[in-house]
Every structure is written in C-alpha cells, then in structure tokens.
C-alpha cells in the first residue's frame, strides 16, 4: 500500500508538472490570453537590436484539436508571425535614356515582421517592352542575382537592378560608387535575406539602371517588377 501511494504521488507530481507546462490561448468577448505558458522559465525580453520571447521547461508540446476545440501546447515558437510589405510607389519612371548614358531610378520596400527576418524576392513579368508591343530592351548580361556585375558606363547595356541600401545587404551587391547589377529574373528569386528581428519597419532600396544600344528603337517601354516578402522560417 505504501508503494501504491508512492506511485500515485509520483504520478500526480509528474502529471502535475506536465500540466503546468502546457501552453494555451483563451479568449472571451472582452479578454484574450495569447498562448499563455506555465513553464519553468520564460517571458519577453528585449535590447536595442533584439527581441526575445522565450519559454522553457515544457515537456509536452504540439497541437491538438477536435470538432469544437483547438489546443496548442508548447513552446512559443508555435506562434505565427505577421508580415507586411509596402512599396513607396507602384510606378517608377526612369529618366529618358540616350544610348551610351545610363539612367537610374529607385524603389523602396518596407517590410515589418515579428519573425526572425524575411526574404525579399523579385521578378519581372517581361523585358521592358515598347508600346509597339514587339520591341524589347533586354536585361544586362552577364549579371544575375547570384553573381551581380559591375556597371561599366558606355559599355554595359540593358535593364538591371541593384540594392543600394538596406539592413545586412549581401556584399555581392557592392557599395557606392561600385554597385553590382543583376538582371531581373522571370521567376521570383530572393535578392535580400534579412536576418534577425527588427521590431520596426525595415527598408531596402532598389536601384534600377538602364542603358541601351545605339540602335534601340526610341519610344516608351514598360514592364512590371514584382516584389515578395516571406517570413523566414
């Protein structure tokens, strides 16, 4: 009998500890408790550059559900992250180009996320295309997101972009005045991997650069450049 009590005591102690470590989210009309935890340690902490929501000592984690209920138990890592993307403008005009002299314009993306960084990807729907619907301005070549290249004024021809400002830009993009340029890909491709928490709006400046050959048909050309921001897993 003594052994039985000990067993029960151990079970209660163990299960009691387990119950105390489960995370939960509750809400009513007036109140909401987001992913509360009963754990060994945890909480929110921050410094100038970093934010941390921590939880430890949770022996049982995961998600459970039934027809009427959903149960998320475990570390705060299960919290979903939000993300927003804003462009400073949806229309960019590059100053008129005279062959041999490049022109530039810029866009700025602003991303806010509470995740541990984000990926900024770009693509274009087509080459810059004349209003005649046929004539195009090709992208620079060589010059890819993987391997951007220096711009040689008067020699480099085509449409391209570089990243001139941002947080933690890859050195492959160069620096002023020696930025390195890439063609916009047809498929969305990550151009900037922003690491770490920001807890604030994070901006990236994209510079478009264009020069054309002496035989490029005069007139107006257009295309669409699409950006996408994805939370880092």
């Amino acid at each position: 009998m003594t052994k039985l009590f000990k067993l029960i005591a151990i079970l209660v102690l163990t299960i009691g500890s387990a119950a105390g470590a489960q995370a939960f989210s509750m809400s009513s009309t007036n109140y909401k408790v987001d992913d509360g935890t009963l754990n060994s340690f945890g909480g929110a902490a921050s410094s100038t550059n970093y934010g941390l929501t921590s939880s430890g000592g949770e022996p049982f984690i995961g998600a459970g559900s039934s027809t009427n209920y959903k149960f998320n138990a475990g570390y705060v890592a299960q919290l979903e992250h939000s993300i927003s993307l804003t462009l400073d403008t949806l229309a960019v005009t590059i100053p008129a180009v005279t062959p041999g002299t490049s022109q530039t314009a810029t866009s700025t993306t602003t991303v806010y996320t509470d995740a541990a960084g984000y990926l900024l990807a770009v693509r274009e729907d087509k080459d810059l295309t004349h209003t005649d619907g046929l004539t195009t301005i090709p992208a620079i070549s060589p010059g890819t997101i993987t391997t951007p290249v220096l711009w040689t004024e008067g020699t480099t021809k085509g449409f391209s972009f570089t990243l001139t400002a941002g947080t933690g830009l890859d050195p492959k993009w160069g620096s002023t005045p020696n930025f390195k340029y890439a063609a916009f890909p047809a498929d969305s491709t990550t151009a900037h991997d922003k690491a770490g928490y920001s807890n604030s709006n994070n901006t990236t400046t994209i510079q478009y650069r264009l020069d054309v050959s002496a035989t490029q048909k005069p007139g107006t050309y257009r295309n669409n450049v699409t950006y996408s921001a994805t939370v880092k897993p």
């Binding site: 029960i8 049982f60 149960f71 138990a73 993307l85 035989t215 490029q216 050309y221 699409t226």
Partner: protein, 327 residues
C-alpha cells in the same frame, strides 16, 4: 467516518482509479498533440491583391516549404486558408475553388488528387492512396488560387493525415504570408538619336592636270536608332576661283582632260544604299539606309580634271551634307 483508510479495499481501489484516470486523461492529450512543421514558409508567385490594378493576384501558386516530424506516410494534405489565425474562414475575396495540384519535392514524386469540396471555407485537400512520409524537407505547390482583395497578413493551416479520409492527424501547423501591392510598373523612354560626323572638313585635290583625274577622300559616319534609318543629302558649289569655275560633272564620270568636278561614294558603309557614279550637286539621298545603324562609315572621293583652257589658280568648293533620321 470519512477517512478512507478505514476501508483498506476502498483505499486501494480509489487511488488506483484516480491514477488510471489521470493517465488516461493526459495520455489522451499526448496522443492528440501533433507536431509542427519546422522550418516552414509559404511562398506566393504573386502577392498582389486579386483586385490590384497592376498584376492582380489571380492564378497564384502557393508553395509550402516545410519539414515535417512524422515518419508515417502522409496520404492527405489539408490546406485551410485563414484571415485570422485559428479561424477557418476565407480571407475576403480569397478563392480556392480552382485550386489544382502543382508539384512537390521531397514527397516521392507522387501526384496528388485535389478535393475542392471545402472551397466555401477555403479548405483544399490533396490525397494520394500510397502516400509518402513528410518527415524531411519537402515542398508542396498549389496552383490556381485567387488572392484576397485586402492587403495584410493571412494564414494557411496545413494538416497531414495518414489516410485519404478521416484517419489520424500527423502534423499540423499554420504559416503566415502577406498580401500587398507589390508590383512596380517601370517606365523608361529611349530618346531618338542621330549622329553624323565628317572625318575631315578639308580635302586637297593637289595640282590639277589635263592628263589625269585628281582625287581626294574624306570619311563620314552616321548612326541612328530611327527605325526607318537615315539618308544623307549633299549640296554645294562647284570649284571656283573668282569668276572662273570648273563645272560639275554631268555624264557620271569625271574624265581626264575635261574640265569636270564631282564626287563619288567610293565606300558605301554598312547596309546603306549609295548613289553610284561621279556626281554633281545637289544630290538628294546620296546615301540612304532603311533601318537602324549603330554606325556606318562611308568614304567620299572628290574628283576634278581640267583642260588646257582652264584658268590657272587655286579653286575651292564647299560641299555640305545633311543627315536626316527617318523615325
């Protein structure tokens, strides 16, 4: 009286029942606790609203990149779009009724059958009777989605099961993505260009004689992005010394012993067309080209001859060229 220790049998029975009940309760909890995907991300081929003015988000591909935890073969994926995490309802204007299987990686190359019966709540299911474990890195692409009409953060709850219907839930997680006006229309203008230059503005024919034709040359260069090319016109005065002149050639050839003066395009550059023969002035479309030119170089040869009656002295002539772009 209320002391359970007065009844040994009961003391033994009640704690044992309690322990079993506790084990059952928490054991059940452990069974329903499903693992999350980690890492995970949802990549959209187009993050614009479906009602965006430019590049609207229709026919969008959603690609889940994740790593599952369960080694059991997944036979059903359920994708539940949510405007708010935890609420199984479509983001405003979001349409999944045309969802289709795209492609996968890391899932054995299987083809998954779509079930859009739950499109009213933006629930899309994909099933495969064979299934494949999703406990490594994998991707699952869904095609044909129409994005919401409102910018902001939306969610997809992803759940895997071990059966094509019902069955046991394996992994479940929710991943966020953003809908935003994310397309920039880039406009660029290319200016019309026409460049023209003479290599020299002074050509000496030397001392003219009755026994030969004296010549001198000069080059000109023309470039244009005019779609219809260019033409070069020429005009000027004949060789003149005071009131004395050497007339322009009239028969197409400057002949030794005849007092004639003219010019010829001796090298017709690039793809241009040039008037042939020895020519007097003026000349319309001396040189012409029907398309763009990155730079054509033409050589002009000036020719003169005299007869014994020609007055001695220094003769001069000014020939002017005009290049015209045909835009």
């Amino acid at each position: 009286m209320g002391n359970p220790f007065h009844k040994p049998a009961s003391r033994l029975h009640r704690p044992a029942t309690l322990a079993l009940a506790l084990l059952f309760v928490f054991g059940s909890m452990f069974q329903t606790a499903n693992a999350a995907f980690s890492p995970k991300k949802m990549t959209l081929s187009n993050q614009n609203r479906s009602n965006a003015a430019n590049n609207p988000g229709t026919g969008v591909q959603y690609t889940l990149s994740a790593t599952g935890a369960s080694a059991t073969a997944v036979k059903r994926f359920e994708f539940q779009w949510q405007a708010a995490q935890g609420t199984d309802a479509c983001p405003t204007g979001h349409v999944t009724s045309s969802a289709a299987f795209g492609t996968t990686t890391g899932l054995g190359g299987l083809t998954w059958t779509v079930d859009n019966a739950g499109s009213a709540t933006c629930l899309v299911k994909f099933t495969n009777v064979t299934g494949n474990a999703a406990n490594g890195a994998f991707t699952f692409r869904i095609d044909g989605i129409t994005n919401t009409t409102a910018n902001g953060t939306d969610f997809v709850k992803v759940t895997t099961y071990d059966a094509t219907t019902a069955g046991t839930q394996l992994d479940q997680d929710t991943v966020a993505y953003v809908i935003a006006d994310s397309t920039v229309q880039v406009t660029a203008t290319v200016n019309e260009t026409l460049t023209f230059s003479l290599a020299t503005t002074s050509v000496a024919l030397g001392v003219l004689s009755t026994g030969s034709v004296s010549t001198g040359t000069g080059n000109m260069s023309v470039a244009t992005n005019a779609a219809s090319g260019y033409e070069v016109n020429a005009a000027g005065s004949t060789l003149t010394k005071g009131s004395d002149t050497i007339a322009f050639v009239a028969d197409g050839t400057v002949t030794a012993g005849s007092p004639e003066y003219g010019l010829a395009v001796s090298t017709c550059g690039g793809g241009a067309t040039c008037t042939s023969g020895d020519l007097g002035m003026p000349q319309s479309a001396l040189i012409s080209r029907a398309n763009t030119s990155a730079g054509d170089t033409h050589t002009i040869t000036y020719k003169a001859s005299i007869n014994s009656a020609s007055a001695a002295g220094a003769y001069t002539s000014n020939i002017s060229y005009v290049a015209v772009g045909k835009f």
